[in-house]
């Protein structure tokens, strides 16, 4: 049996693991942790091995065509949707990232969560997440993607709310789920539109038709948009929710309420990038809707800078990373919106490594600090936990765009594409954001690992390097953070940009209007490259200047521009605005609907009818006076009435 034929096992194994652990957790709560680990880490591990084998076979297969595997038909009849998987270059990349990074995070979790109650439950959720994420990326149609899409949303909900006995984490989970659902709503509408037009949701049946008859998608459809535009917009709104873009990014910072490995896996490496994956997957449609593409890019850019600016002032180490994630996702959409799909996926990949690494590192720190997340209480940790420090530093270098590290190549390709397509404004934003990114990351490193230790004595006493189950994943991911960019070294730097070529079959080629491959003068390219490096270096340098000696150098700025500081510190009051403008009014409106309308008017009119009936009856019964003379009179008047009726001409 070929490994490719076992592709279905890749998502099935983690799901089976989840089911197993879940059942044991419910019905045999006293079972030991060893089985939990064995199942919880073992199943994704085997899944990863199967995946790697499948990828290996796919890459070295004689037939380079995408591989499809149909399991069963979800619906039959006029509208048939199969449950089927697809392995093509794009899903290969995603599959690798998800299984590989995912597996190592599982390993890490075995250490990180070892003292937590609900250990087994944690693995059940995490495995379920792996399964759903794999469905999302492996599905050969939008329905399977959506199944995974919502599945990861569910797991995100469960894992954010993992500490369900506190009040904030479940709320954060709920927020994540609902905000995601808003996006899903649009995603669904987009799917309906596609299905109504093409009668199918399978990629291989839609995109070729799109490519062969693009004109059909350009006719006006709705909302002043073409069909392609409408679908693209819908999908992008879906992506906004999942990938935390303006205006739906608000859930991601709150999502840090979950355990740190969860943040690493879900809210950095994999789930949040699903939106990017979807946009790239649907690139055929996006290419036909350039106006939506620009919109995507603008949203991405603004998200990037907005999140980065908030990240500048965060003191919670995970919050810094969370805003950083939002910001980096903005980069990816910037690229995807401008048609640089491979660049987006490239950054997605590198980001998965270095951001997972950073999160795991921060987890290691938090683990050592006994749950403390405030960087103001840390400092000088490099002495106590060198592996963590060094790997974290490598991750920082990667995200800050230090040349040679992974982030450098991917971010540079995005900026390059931005400039090349002539979007200089967006380029400027991207560049500035790169500087900010470098600044806040180095700030975090400095506050955490340099200077003096600012925590309590007791904490200091407990500081220790993490056990090997946690540090090995750090090391593995650090290797990735350093080297994953090397698959896409641009031609300018002598690389073959092999990643771009690998992915190109996924990018739809329209015969009439092929994507203009931006050509720039080499000198300009160099200039841009240097600019981005400089921006990064400035950020790094300035951060070290302010925070390097373990002082809160940023306070100077906060004092100088209190208003700006306040705006950033309160995250532009976006949560508050949503609360005031949407949630509260909607709540009041609903209460009005219930008490003021449903009870009073709808049900009230029913009761009023009953009241009128009853009252008229109460009045009417007075006619039966008990006096027989009155009865006789009624009779007589009745007779006269009959007479009148008969005699009336």
């Amino acid at each position: 049996m070929r490994p490719l034929d076992l592709l279905w096992l890749v998502p099935a194994l983690p799901i089976a693991g989840a089911a197993l652990n879940g059942l044991i957790c419910l019905f045999w709560p006293k079972a030991g942790k060893a089985t939990a680990t064995l199942i919880g880490v073992g199943f994704p591990g085997v899944s990863m091995l199967v995946a790697l084998a499948a990828i290996w076979q796919y890459l070295h297969g004689t037939n380079p065509a995408p591989f499809e595997q149909t399991l069963w038909s979800w619906t039959t009849g006029t509208f048939s949707i199969p449950i089927a998987f697809l392995l093509d270059p794009l899903s290969t990349v995603m599959l690798f990232i998800v299984t590989f990074v995912g597996f190592w995070i599982h390993v890490y979790s075995a250490g990180y969560m070892s003292h937590e109650p609900g250990y087994r439950r944690y693995f059940a959720y995490l495995n379920l997440f792996m399964g759903a994420m794999l469905l999302l990326i492996l599905g050969n149609n939008f329905l399977v993607m959506f199944v995974g899409w919502e599945g990861v949303g569910l797991c995100s909900y469960l894992l954010i709310g993992f500490y369900f006995d506190q009040s904030f984490p479940p709320q954060a989970g709920r927020k994540a789920f609902i905000v995601n659902r808003i996006g899903d709503f649009a995603f669904l509408v987009g799917m309906f539109a596609l299905a109504a037009k093409y009668g199918t949701l399978t990629y291989s049946k839609i995109f070729p038709v799109v490519v062969s008859a693009p004109e059909a998608l350009k006719e006006h459809y709705a909302l002043g948009l073409s069909f392609a535009g409408f679908v693209a917009l819908c999908f992008f709104i879906g992506a906004m929710g999942k990938s935390a873009q303006i205006p739906l990014y608000v859930w991601l910072p709150d999502a840090m309420a979950g355990p740190t490995p969860v943040s690493a896996l879900i809210h950095a490496a994999t789930m949040v990038t699903a939106g990017v994956y979807m946009v790239v997957r649907s690139n055929a449609i996006y290419q036909l809707a350039p106006e939506i593409g620009t919109f995507v890019a603008v949203i991405g850019a603004f998200t990037a800078i907005l999140a980065a600016s908030i990240g500048l002032v965060q003191n919670d180490i995970k919050k810094v990373l969370a805003y950083s994630t939002v910001s980096q996702l903005g980069y990816m959409f910037l690229a995807a919106g401008l048609g640089a799909y491979t660049a987006a996926v490239f950054h997605l990949g590198t980001h998965a490594f270095f951001k997972a690494l950073l999160f795991l590192g921060s987890g290691s720190v938090i683990h050592a600090m006994g749950g403390e997340q405030d960087m103001r209480k840390m400092g000088n940790l490099r002495k106590f936990m060198p592996i963590t420090f060094w790997t974290f530093a490598l991750g920082t270098a990667a995200i800050a765009g230090v040349p040679g590290f992974a982030g450098f190549f991917s971010k540079d390709e995005i900026l390059h594409n931005t400039a090349a397509t002539g979007h200089w404004g967006l380029f400027a934003i991207g560049l500035f954001t790169a500087g900010l990114t470098a600044f806040y990351m180095v700030r975090a490193v400095a506050m955490t690992f340099f200077g003096k230790f600012r925590g309590t004595h007791e904490q200091e006493h407990h500081l220790h390097e993490s056990p090997w189950v946690m540090s090995v994943p750090l090391l593995v991911l650090a290797v990735g953070a350093v080297s994953s960019g090397w698959v896409g070294i641009p031609e300018l730097l002598g690389g073959g940009n092999s990643f771009h070529h690998f992915l190109s079959p996924v990018i739809a080629q329209f015969p009439e209007h092929a994507i203009e491959h931006p050509e720039m003068a080499a000198s300009t390219e160099w200039l841009l490259l240097i600019a981005s490096v400089v921006a990064g270096l400035i950020g790094i340098g300035y951060a070290f200047m302010l925070y390097g000696r373990g002082e809160m150098g940023g306070a100077v700025w906060a004092k100088r521009f209190p208003a700006v500081y306040r705006v950033l510190d309160r995250k532009y009051w976006v949560d508050e605005i949503y609360d005031r403008l949407i949630i509260k009014p909607l709540g009041s409106f609903s209460r009005f609907l219930w008490k003021g309308f449903d009870d009073t008017i709808v049900d009230g009119s029913v009761r009023a009818l009953a009241w009128v009936t009853e009252t008229s009856a109460q009045g009417g019964r007075l006619s039966t006076t008990g006096n027989v003379r009155h009865y006789a009179l009624y009779f007589f008047l009745g007779v006269l009435g009959l007479f009148w009726w008969i005699l009336r001409s």
């Binding site: 009853e614 109460q618 009624y634 005699l647």
Partner: protein
């Protein structure tokens, strides 16, 4: 009077003779009192058996009539008599007023009702009406210890006598203007009349009003709640149905006469429609607010007569069947309901508050269940006979193109459902009241009474699921007015 005529009178003779027999027994063998119910039942059964020997068609010089629907009506009357007798035994014993006069009067009134519904001649109609009425006045006052009983009787009597005078005047006008007292001849005169026959129509209206009074149609209805409330409960099982059944037949006969002249169909339809709608609305509305179950049933009876008239708005050969079916169902459920009321209320002279039934459904499962069935049937909810009764009259209204009336009917019956349900929920959903627990000791629930309830309930359910034969028989019977 020949053998034919005599044979035609078999049921009446049996009933009247039975009454005399009971009277004699009361005088001669009062120790047999406990057996009177049985004897009377045998008499009633014999009268039903006597139906066979009644030759079809007219008899007694065209004064009486007999055919399928009439037979159904007569059966309905005797059915209610039977149920009334069954329910009476326990009551009379409990109240210590058991005597043969009661049974005799009841049989005579049944005889009167039978004559009334068979009569096709005005003089016979009047006399049968009086025979029936006088028995009813006496029976209403039968429990003389209770103040409301005599009050009920006096109200009924005064109203009845007052109305009799109108009927008589109407008869005089009809007779005088058409020269005959036989309905068929009057109808022929109507049909021949080239002009609009005004004075006979007024006479007809007077007679019709009289029978509308007996049927307690609005606005001639006001006596019935008071009378039902005061009269002995088991007797109301008869009072609330038998006179209505008999009067309904007369009503139909009169309508047949009235519409003999095509010019008048519209007017009489209007009258019947008005009576129907008024009865449905007023009956249901006022029943809604009653606290006394007997008054409630009285108003419900008013409403039911309203439904009944739906089939008569366009009187024709096909109206009689639905009316007969409806009346049979009405007999079963109303008589049955009063039978249960008799058994479940201990204090004859007081109000029969609905609330006293609280929780009794579980204390007396059989009677409670029967009462619930009667209520659901009265509400017209399948699978009960009451539903079929409603169905056939509504169907008739729709067939006549009067679906506006049918809609009024269903809406009115919706109000009806509310108060019938009140009984059901009082029986089953309210906690048993202390009062009920105390007074239940005064109850006398005998086998006869149970039999009455079971008979009616089984009939309702049986005809509710299998009305086939009955409908075929009643609807398929030939009918000549």
């Amino acid at each position: 009077m020949n053998a034919h005529d005599l044979a035609s009178l078999t049921p009446e003779i049996i009933l009247a003779g039975g009454g005399v027999l009971l009277l004699l027994l009361e005088a001669l063998l009062p120790s047999l009192r406990r057996a009177f119910t049985g004897i009377a039942l045998v008499v009633v059964a014999a009268a039903v058996w006597g139906f066979q020997s009644v030759p079809s068609g007219a008899s007694n010089l065209g004064a009486l009539d007999w055919n399928g629907p009439v037979r159904a009506f007569a059966f309905a009357v005797l059915l209610s008599t039977g149920i009334c007798l069954l329910a009476s035994q326990g009551y009379l014993r409990r109240e210590k007023i058991l005597s043969g006069e009661y049974h005799a009067l009841l049989l005579w009134s049944a005889c009167g009702a039978l004559l009334l519904l068979r009569a096709t001649e005005l003089l016979t109609i009047f006399l049968a009406l009086e025979l029936l009425s006088i028995c009813l006045y006496a029976l209403a006052a039968y429990h003389r210890r209770i103040a409301i009983g005599t009050e009920a009787a006096i109200k009924y009597f005064l109203m009845g006598a007052f109305v009799s005078a109108f009927v008589l005047l109407g008869i005089a006008l009809l007779y005088g203007e058409t020269g005959s007292t036989r309905l068929d001849q009057i109808g022929a005169a109507f049909a021949l009349s080239e002009k609009f026959p005004i004075i006979p129509s007024l006479g007809l209206a007077l007679v019709l009003a009289g029978f509308a009074f007996k049927m307690s149609l609005v606005p001639f209805h006001a006596w019935s709640p008071d009378t039902y409330q005061g009269a002995p409960s088991p007797f109301v099982a008869f009072l609330s149905v038998a006179p209505k059944v008999a009067s309904a037949m007369v009503f139909i006969r009169l309508l047949q006469v009235a519409v003999a002249n095509p010019e008048m169909i519209g007017r009489w339809s209007g009258i019947v429609a008005f009576l129907s709608v008024a009865s449905m609305i007023v009956g249901n509305l006022l029943a809604l607010v009653q606290r006394d179950i007997k008054r409630m049933l009285a108003y419900s009876g008013i409403a039911h007569m309203g439904y009944l008239l739906l089939a008569l708005v366009v009187p024709g050969a096909n109206s009689i069947g639905p009316v007969a079916v409806y009346l049979l169902s009405y007999v079963l459920m109303t008589s049955g309901a009063f039978a249960v009321v008799t058994l479940l209320y201990a204090r004859a002279g007081e109000q029969h508050q609905i609330s006293e039934l609280s929780g009794l459904g579980f204390r007396y499962p059989l009677l409670g269940g029967c009462l619930a069935i009667f209520m659901l049937s009265l509400g017209g909810i399948p699978p009960t006979f009451g539903f079929f009764g409603k169905y056939v009259v509504f169907m008739n209204a729709v067939t006549d193109g009067r679906w506006g009336l049918a809609i009024v009917g269903v809406l009115a019956s919706l109000v009806g459902v509310f108060y019938y349900l009140r009984i059901v929920y009082t029986l089953y959903m309210k906690p048993e009241s202390r009062l009920a627990a105390e007074t239940s000791s005064g109850l006398l629930i005998d086998g006869w009474g149970r039999a009455a309830a079971i008979l009616a309930a089984v009939g309702i359910l049986a005809f509710g699921v299998w009305p086939t034969r009955l409908l075929e028989w009643v609807l398929g019977s030939p009918w000549a007015p």
